[in-house]
């Protein structure tokens, strides 16, 4: 029989009382840290600039893509044709101060400070599907406001049938603009009724925080029922026109990219099918998703195109 009369525990093994008593604090900190690092939580970040943005209309309860995926898989040819290189290269862009020039068929043209635009247009969060023409998609909690609300303040005239948007042109910073891969600056456009549609957003943030540069900071467009290339980034100019604007991708390959660019599984790209999309963030064994007409926003926007042959006006 073995009876120990003396304690085996060395005094050095006994936890200091102060440390012992702070154990709850330690656990709390550790949990908060691991949550912060490991789970880039979908939806709003608790500490972001727009953490308190209210949820706006049309926001869908969808499984949100990881922020890291959205922030590191961007088509931003102004910086690079590589989807991850743009993350690093876009850091060089200075997004403040920022102005937007408003011209064309409006009563109140001028150069507007982004700060003033943001003062007039309170932001909200909307979770939208984002479908690229390259047949991949993600679900992003955007922070922004309806484009129509902003445009109405400039008082478009009756001649304003289209709205044209232009991206910053600065080859010194936007190193991709030194190559002729597209005709710079990037230009996109919408028909005025598309621009005024309540689904169309001007976006300044995502995931409850400011927009990362590579995602189009400080001001980008989001048109959820159209292919991603319509959703132009780093906007410096808005022009109201009577005629349909010539847009960057259409100019580069008119047979492949139309002005409308509505998501449509029935109209394949000349070189690939548009019937399915790879939803980012799934397992490698997750099958692709069947693409929905107008990216699932048909109920809201199909009427804009009634009577139009969408195969012709792709």
């Amino acid at each position: 029989m073995l009876i120990k009369t003396k304690s085996n525990i060395l005094s050095s093994e006994i936890t200091d009382r102060a440390v012992f008593e702070s154990r709850r604090e330690f656990i709390k900190t550790a949990t908060a840290l691991s949550a912060g690092f490991m789970l880039p939580s979908p939806g709003q970040a608790a500490t972001g600039k727009y953490a308190d943005a209210p949820v706006g209309p049309y926001s869908a309860k969808l499984q949100v893509t990881d922020r890291e995926d959205v922030a590191n898989y961007t088509n931003y040819y102004e910086f690079s044709t590589n989807k991850t290189d743009s993350t690093v290269l876009a850091k060089a862009l200075k997004t403040a101060p920022w102005t937007v020039e408003v011209t064309g068929e409006v009563e109140k043209p001028g150069v507007y400070n982004l700060e003033d635009i943001l003062k007039d247009n309170p932001v909200q969060e909307r979770i939208y599907r984002f479908r690229c023409v390259e047949a991949w998609s993600m679900v992003v909690p955007w922070i922004g406001f309806p484009l129509g609300d902003m445009l109405k303040r400039f008082k478009p005239t009756s001649k304003a049938k289209f709205v044209e948007f232009t991206t910053l042109n600065n080859p010194e910073i936007m190193v991709g603009q030194r190559s002729g891969v597209l005709d710079w600056p990037y230009v996109e456009g919408l028909r005025i009724d598309e621009a005024m549609h309540p689904l169309t957003m001007m976006v300044t943030g995502m995931y409850g925080d400011e927009l990362p540069n590579q995602n189009g900071a400080p001001l980008r467009l989001i048109v959820p029922w159209k292919y991603g290339f319509k959703s132009i980034k780093a906007i410096v100019k808005i022009r109201f026109t009577e005629t349909m604007p010539e847009t960057a991708w259409h100019k580069s390959a008119p047979g492949e990219y139309g002005f409308y660019a509505n998501v449509n599984p029935e109209v394949p790209h000349p070189r690939w099918s548009q019937s399915r999309e790879r939803v980012l963030g799934g397992s490698i064994f997750t099958p692709k998703r069947e693409t929905e007409k107008f990216n699932g926003y048909g109920e809201e926007v199909a009427a804009l195109y009634s009577g139009m042959d969408l195969k012709q006006y792709f």
Binding site: Y73, S273, G281, F285
Partner: protein
């Protein structure tokens, strides 16, 4: 280079392991969740790139022999060709198993709409008989027709290029690099061929 049998065997093992490295790195990235936002695309493009690179390396060996006058490059021709086939097989496998999720429905819809996929499949079909007849036994059995059959690799080089050009959205930099490489490698063969026929006529 006059090396012994053992030295060549050792060098071959090293080259073999080096050629497997891209595969090992991609698999390792996959296991560690390091393939980025679109892992299937990363694997698919990664394997495709390496198939094309090994095709170029394989096509470079005969010209290197011609220029240096040394026979050693030919020792690696089969291995490089088989690695091109290995990476092309993985490229195709990722497409069928992961991208299409083995769905015949998806295959029927997506493949005919994509000329570049059809061109990729054609390239693979050109490589299959070459891999199948790559053994020494087959080489001996087929004799002269083996040489003729294996000229299909020139066609595969060209169809692989077309496959690449047709899939690119806008930035042609990378396929252009391969186009230059393959043009030089095939061009050198044309020059050699022309010189030979010229000699024949002058005799």
């Amino acid at each position: 280079m006059s090396l012994g049998k053992k030295s060549w065997a050792a060098i071959k093992i090293i080259v073999f392991l080096l050629s497997l490295t891209p595969f090992a790195l991609l698999v390792n990235d996959g296991l560690n969740d390091q393939l980025g936002a679109n892992p299937i695309e990363t694997l698919h493009f990664g394997f495709g790139d390496w198939a094309l690179r090994f095709l170029c390396i394989g096509l470079a060996l005969t010209p290197i022999k011609t220029i240096t006058g040394q026979g050693w490059p030919i020792r690696f021709r089969r291995m490089m060709g088989l690695f091109a086939f290995f990476y092309a097989s993985l490229h195709l496998l990722v497409f069928i198993v992961l991208d299409l999720s083995l769905s015949w429905e998806a295959f029927k819809d997506e493949v005919p709409k994509s000329p570049y996929i059809l061109m990729g499949l054609l390239t693979y079909l050109l490589l299959v008989p070459l891999a199948a007849t790559s053994t020494q036994k087959m080489q001996k059995r087929l004799g002269r027709s083996w040489i003729k059959l294996h000229r299909l690799v020139y066609a595969a080089g060209l169809t692989a290029l077309v496959h690449y050009f047709w899939l690119v959205k806008k930035d042609y930099t990378e396929p252009l690099i391969y186009a230059v490489a393959i043009s030089i490698l095939l061009g050198m063969r044309i020059i050699v061929y022309c010189k030979r026929t010229a000699k024949l006529f002058s005799l």
